[in-house]
Amino acid sequence: MKQKRDKYRGRLFLAFIMTNIIFIFIFLFSFSISYLNYQNINSQNNLIDEYLQDLSEDILKLNCENKFLLESSEKLDNVGARLSLLETRFGKKDSRVIEQKELYVRLEIKHFEIIKKIQNICGKNFTTILFFYSNDEVYEKESEIIGFILGTFKNKDPEKIMVYSFDYSSESEPVKLLKEKYGIKNIPIVIVNERDMIFIDSIDDLDYYN
């Protein structure tokens, strides 16, 4: 006695539906976490803005001991890292990414200006580093290495070393002004203390500024 093959098409169709639901769920979950990241970046940016506001006011009052200085600097670094993650997930051209990057750049510049003021008014000594990088394929690898070196360098003395990173390809007006001001032509490049324009490929190249 031989068997008749089971009718399986209905079950296979059900499996297709299940698979598609599972895939949609996975993509939605991933998107939700990215969106959570976006919201987190947004709130962090707003918090940094508040800190910087406090800092500005304190400087005007000649108050040189401000607890928000280190905290705002740490938060800036963290938001920078999260923004690059958001860029990977949502894409460079995503309006939310562009919006947060724009806001972030403004905060960086604001922080940089405050640091300069603190240097002048309070006589504190900072090492400021402006880093112009690019995510274009040609420069991406090198930019990543320099970013990593700068991150490590900052960690050596986070209260004294301030690193500000700017996307060379950004359409943002403040970035364009900075590029013009410092005459940036080649990337990736690092400007230390607004004077020295250097190319680095090892942390040893920064020893002089430590």
């Binding site: 068997q3 399986y8 296979l12 599972i22 690898k141």
Partner: protein, 419 residues
């Protein structure tokens, strides 16, 4: 999108589709079908082919003798396939008045298929059980399997196979692989798509051998060939998950590789010989199960090779990065709130990570199913971890070696001979 991601998504989609199909089938099977009752109605011959099995043969025969089955309906035939050790003399001890149901034959070495065929020729049972000489069974295994033969359409019944007291890493990884097999075999049975029956312990209706011939004596995987032959003749292969048998697996990297080369080469050759099984005429077997198996093998190999190359490049890049900052190992432990926070967003928004977690959950479900059916209480979490870490690489490695042997026409041997 990178080739890597396309491959990962494609493999994941096929994997999830196949798994969903298997789970649906199994769910519907248990929903509509009553548990098959135990039976001792049929006369049974257990054939134990043995070649150089002096270490395990005694325990195997004792295990067969301890089966909870009427002794007047049970016959045990040991076929010594020209062993060079004491297998024959050890088995011979059982052919006395004390054990009248045990018979022993000896012959020149000719391979497992020849030994099994000799056993079938001299058997008297309606049902033939093939049992490896390093396999042990739970006493109730046989009567549970025989229950399935009440249905006349069934010509073969497979059990749940486990690994006997796994000791080293190779055995522990195989233990999890066998547990996976328990779920898959039952699911395949629910749509009559079993295409591999365990050579270590399976039951066959003797009529089938009379009508369609015995085991293929020149086949590397004679059990696989037989299963495919049964499918090609449109008979049914059932699975009895509550019938439990344990086997001694290869215990070294080398012996495991030899076994897998034989299995995989046998699979390639037999699937080619039975290529007519692919396609809608053979239902889910030809449309889903066999195509999914072949696709998974090919994609897994490509993906693993790609992953290894990618990881090596990544390690090289990481070393360049670490070198650029004069890295010291202790720095690696300087985690803080921000690092942990970023990892959270990075991992949980990574689709491949989520898919991986999903697959691990499915595999764990397979294990839970298997443990429940086999009433297996040993702790296997560590073994599961070892399986997750190493199995993918091993699987691809075994396949790549097999393909190399095939391309260069090298001979695949049955086992590593002890010198």
């Amino acid at each position: 999108m990178e080739t890597y991601f396309i491959l990962v998504y494609l493999l994941s989609y096929i994997g999830i589709l196949a798994t969903s199909f298997y789970v649906i089938n199994l769910f519907l099977y248990y929903k509509k079908k009553f548990e098959v009752k135990e039976s001792t109605e049929k006369s049974v011959t257990i054939i134990i082919p043995a070649y150089n099995e002096e270490k395990t043969i005694e325990k195997t025969i004792k295990s067969a003798l301890s089966l909870d089955y009427p002794k007047e309906k049970l016959e045990i035939i040991v076929v010594d396939d020209g062993s060079k050790d004491n297998t024959y003399s050890i088995a011979k001890k059982f052919t006395s008045l004390k054990f009248p149901i045990v018979k022993i034959f000896t012959k020149q070495n000719g391979g497992k298929g020849t030994a099994l065929n000799l056993g079938i020729k001299n058997s008297s049972g309606e049902i033939i059980i093939t049992m490896d000489a390093d396999t042990y069974v739970k006493p109730d295994a046989l009567k549970k399997m025989i229950g399935y033969f009440t249905d006349k359409i069934v010509v073969c019944v497979s059990p749940s196979m486990g690994i006997y007291k796994p000791k080293n890493i190779w055995e522990k990884i195989q233990q999890i692989e066998y547990h996976m097999g328990v779920f898959l075999r039952k699911s395949f049975a629910s749509m009559n798509a079993i295409h591999v029956t365990p050579g270590a312990f399976s039951a066959y209706r003797k009529d089938f051998f009379s009508k369609h011939g015995g085991f293929d004596e020149n086949n590397l995987t004679e059990d696989l060939e037989l299963a495919l032959r049964i499918q090609s003749k449109d008979y049914v292969i059932e699975n009895s998950p509550n019938s439990v048998a344990f086997t001694n697996p290869p215990s070294t990297f080398k012996t495991l590789l030899v076994q897998r080369k034989r299995w995989y080469m046998g699979l390639i050759k037999n699937l080619w010989n039975y290529r007519q099984l692919f396609g809608p005429k053979k239902g889910a077997l030809g449309t889903v199960v066999l195509p999914a198996a072949v696709t998974t093998i090919i994609l897994s190999i490509i993906l693993t090779v790609y992953l290894i190359v990618r990881t090596l490049i990544k390690i090289k890049d990481e070393l360049i990065l670490l070198n650029s900052i004069n890295f010291h190992f202790k720095d690696a432990f300087e985690l803080n709130y921000y690092v942990v926070g970023n990892y959270f967003f990075d991992l949980l928004s990574n689709k491949i990570f989520i898919i991986t977690v999903f697959f691990i959950s499915i595999l764990w479900y397979y294990i839970v199913f298997s443990k429940r059916k086999m009433i297996y209480n040993e702790k296997i979490k560590l073994n599961f971890f070892l399986y997750l870490v190493f199995y993918g690489f091993l699987f691809s490695f075994w396949w790549i070696v097999t393909f190399m042997y095939m391309i260069f026409n090298k001979k695949v041997v049955w086992r590593v001979e002890n010198k």
